[in-house]
Subunit: 256 residues, 6 copies
């Protein structure tokens, strides 16, 4: 089960992750053509449900990116469906307690490690020896994005077979009484996030974060982050469309 | 039949047209949220067929843009289907002779002007008094994109009820033995295109062109163009994705 | 190849035809549950293209109605695809000359009668002995809906293997300089339509018509029509939605 | 965040709600063209899942109706996905206890009021200042449709930030040992429902109900109901199709 | 509510069940054309979600097979949606305790037997007197596929209104520390499975199993099994494609 | 523009072609996982239209097969759309004259060789230097499948830039007054087909044929054929489903 993300991590480098929120095989394939290490299908806040996710996974298969999926909620049905469909990892939102983390990781692991049901319909077609390798390959990232999760971080990090955590800076800010935002630089938010990073690395786990801008992301790798997401297809497309139109309008476009 | 494009033209201004090549209601809606005057669904080189086009037209309806469609070829079946579906105009590729122009325009006009079949299933739902107003509202733009078309331009421009022409700089270049490109500045291409513009304006018709960059487009309006397309959703998305990834990689992104 | 429409005609009765313009298997199945003799998928003015049409044909298969399709235009590609997909007949719009009629019917008939290509992928699955029976079963209805068609009617009716004609009262009115309408009762339109009926019946062919209201339709059967369409799913749904809302509003609905 | 439903309620009037059970943008758009105040996508008993719901929300955006969604069950994943997709409110079935009500409302409210995760991908595009306004705008209607819910009504109504309740007369009847039906007039059912209305209004909350016929609905507004649903697209279409066919058959349609 | 599966069981015969994992109405219809007694849509390990499942159910309706669905997990939302969509039964994975069995069966039964919500949108259209007959017709099969489930089998079998159990040999093997496989013949697995069969039959309930090969299946019927699944559309298609290609390659196909 | 089909031909070997008639990315991907050299999407008799074809092309991209498409008819619109979508070649049905062949090939070639319009939206993304290489890479196969085509074969083979021919044995049989069949062994059919092969090879062009069984195909390669199709996904799936069910029934499956 070859995976670029695992190779990047084996080289102790930070991975560049693309984010797919648009239910279109076309935007997915264009994204897959770029030099990302992994791609995450967002079934939580993205406009994507299982059937679209399956098509997106098929459309990006040829481009050598590791495919992950963020699920809408910590529910075994959708977690297992996405793994059976070929995702090599799951990002689970709102993991606030060790019990929730155990339930999440268990859904991703076959017995005796967990309670994942066997039947990797597409995964078994595209990966040789899937059953033998799945438990050791599947990436599980628990989202740390509330004050409660930060409080429970030690226990969460102790979950067997958890790959790591994924910081959700938007929800974390909301949980701390602030408006949602990414790429935080104010000391309070930055401090909390650095605390998550330090504990996660100390536990020997991977630490990822949702970001917006390449400079912030490159810096985060240097601080120790292992997995950084570049905005999302929705944000990138919206910004680019807006920029072109604004440039035309600013030039007096339309005026003779 | 209110139409922003008609209002822009009534004010003798140049219209900013968005281009939809992606068969996704999400990218279409995001595009429709921008300050475009019109949107064109590209069923020729775009990755869009009728059924997707219908959904795109529905998804952008609320944003007040005039919706046009470029058809795959000069065939009455698809032209009429798109008009029935609510497009207020058609861009027809590869109009090289007056006879082809007449066949195109006839497909867009009810008798006695043309041979369009009556049955505006969606158009009749969303536009009051559709039958009464359609013939005078529907925009017909013939693409001028070959040497043959340039040679026949006078006859093409004489087609009754033709709204105007749309310059296809890529195909025009190919037809002249050059690689396809947009935003031509070399004197030969620029000269041919200016010739099209002058003849079209002299005939009292509208002149549009497929472009890439806002400065070129703003300049084209000043030269007399009435309708300028900003690249396409595919180009805009691809460029923006590539730029973000390149910035991260250039910053040594991934390196500790 | 059992077909309720053929049975109705064998009993010399008029057939009740339902009209599917909505690309939804749900509305199609609901329509198929009603006591129609046949159902026509409208790929011309309906909001339906081939891929949707295939799904609609599958969704209505269990309900014993004969399935026909109206094509967007007289083009062999789409005619043959719909027959291969399981349609037992084609309604072709805008047949104005004998040559057009021959081209249409030829596309529906295997050699030596016509030039239909063999490969009935779904039709061959659902109908036993398809190749042997297709030529004698496939229904071909040429739309007579212009002054030119009326003028050429004798020649059109002489087309070998043509099943009959289908009157398009809306387009016929437009062609005669009137607004499009159905269920014509004014003497001029009624006279022209009766002329079509008499010639068609005299030629031993079937005569159908697009209608709106049951009383007009029941009367048309008595006049000799063989195939009457009850409005369309779009019209029926729109009228019913509007009626319910209007009743509520008229009752002062919303007022305390 | 302009919303017609909020305007109707601000004027202390009863709102007319349309009900979308068909996964078709065409029937949705036709419904949106009518004079409804709001539209509810039914993901519970309707034939609609998330991906279709997204397309329906896009297709009706231009018509100024407030869009709500009924979820299949009280699960945070789908509730949040629909809100992120642009629904301005949620109807949650089978709320039988105060605990269930709190879990439901919490999924619809950002901290500190609830536990909704931030990431309004489409909602943020179409509504300015979404985060600031969402908590005060999102409509939450708990379905009261079992004997248990009626017994626990006081506690349910005390749920902070609950907008109101929506009576499900069909399930309520089943729960009381009767066959499912709407527009109840028998004294026992009518009495229970009136009890729900009185308590809900006394608590200062909104009271809605699923209905069938405009006269019953208009009367319900006068009794104090704030939100009345007119059957569903499935019922309306089925009844209208059946009526037309029955009329033709009754007229001896088909007989010469 | 006519059902071939119920007829087969009434004749005390073993039913042949087809398995639909491919989200395609075409493969579903081809499968429905075969001599199966029932068809199960697999929403757990199959590549099928609700919206596809609905289309599959519509596509197979005309072929007289009883339609069941396996849900992704024991969640009432999706169970009820599938029943409302017309499935006549549910196979629920991973039922390990009597409490889980009761929750599953309750979701399939209207009060007073269970807590299924009333609103059989499609089921009510296609089955007369649905509400009256549903509780006695709906098939509920609990999957027994873990050591825990085997341990709790007596209590599970005591669940009121449970139709029977469905053995999942793959997961059962995993739970017992073996690789997943079907058609087990080793004594340990065969013994456990026979134990399930004996207890289930002794309880007067139906016993089904997921299988691979017809001889194993025919034998299982003779042992007492009531419901046997022939592999899946994915396995059947993959094997057949591979066999044809292998035969060509083995023949030196491609060599001159 | 790497292409396995071109490599096979460069080694003067016969290519094994898979045939996609099912509009499902799942069956397409399973087919692409097999050891085919190329895959052809059938938009003529297959149940596939453009929008599905695009998704199929995306789903098979990662498996290194050369992708071709058969168009419904010799129409430039759909030919160019499929090439723009990434197909590396076109099979065109019913090429009966040199004029038709020239029209077909011209639609596949940029000026000055042909009249293909430039705008390879997806092809340009996935193939570097597409415009420079397309004319020399695109495969054009004219179907020879009527008596008329056989009569005109010399002239058809003289078409500049034609890659070769593809024998349609079913239609050829029909054209010769026989029932449609594949893998002909009767001397008359075999003789005509051998004549096509000899002339095509003598002209230095490629010769392909639609076949059913691997032994016939392996033999055809030895006779000189360059491109052999193994039945179709529909035939393969139908036969395999039927075989499994028949085996169970023959074993008395279902009997105790
Ligand atoms: Mg979050
Ligand atoms: Mg062009
Ligand atoms: Mg007409
Ligand atoms: Mg209810
Ligand atoms: Mg299992
Ligand atoms: Mg052929």
């Amino acid at each position: 089960m070859k995976s670029r993300l695992h190779d990047v991590w084996a080289a102790d480098r930070g991975a560049l992750n693309g984010w797919l929120s648009i239910p279109s095989t076309v935007t997915a394939e264009i994204t897959a053509l770029q030099d990302y290490d992994s791609l995450t299908l967002d079934l939580q806040h993205g406009l994507v449900d299982y059937q679209s996710a399956l098509e997106l996974m098929q459309a990006v298969t040829g481009y050598g990116k590791t495919v992950l999926a963020r699920v809408p909620w910590n529910e075994p049905g959708i977690i297992m469906k996405l793994l059976d469909g070929g995702a090599l990892g799951i990002i689970c939102p709102m993991i606030n307690t060790a019990e929730e983390a155990a339930r999440f990781v268990g859904a991703c692991q076959y017995a005796p490690r967990g309670y994942r049901s066997s039947g990797p319909t597409r995964a078994g077609l595209i990966y040789p020896d899937y059953f033998k390798n799945a438990n050791d390959t599947i990436v599980t990232l628990a989202m740390i994005e509330t004050v409660q999760a930060v409080d429970n971080l030690d226990a969460i990090l102790a979950t067997p077979n958890l790959t790591g955590v994924y910081v959700g800076p938007g929800d974390l800010a909301v949980s701390m009484g602030k408006p949602p935002a990414l790429d935080h630089t104010d000391p309070e938010m930055a401090g909390v996030i650095d605390g998550i990073l330090q504990k996660t690395k100390a536990a020997g786990l991977k630490c990822g974060m949702h970001c917006l801008n390449p400079p912030f992301m490159a810096d985060a790798v240097k601080q120790g982050f292992d997995f950084l997401t570049l905005a999302s297809d929705v944000r990138i497309f919206t910004a680019a469309q807006a920029a072109g139109v604004a440039e035309f309008r600013k030039l007096g476009g339309g005026d003779r």
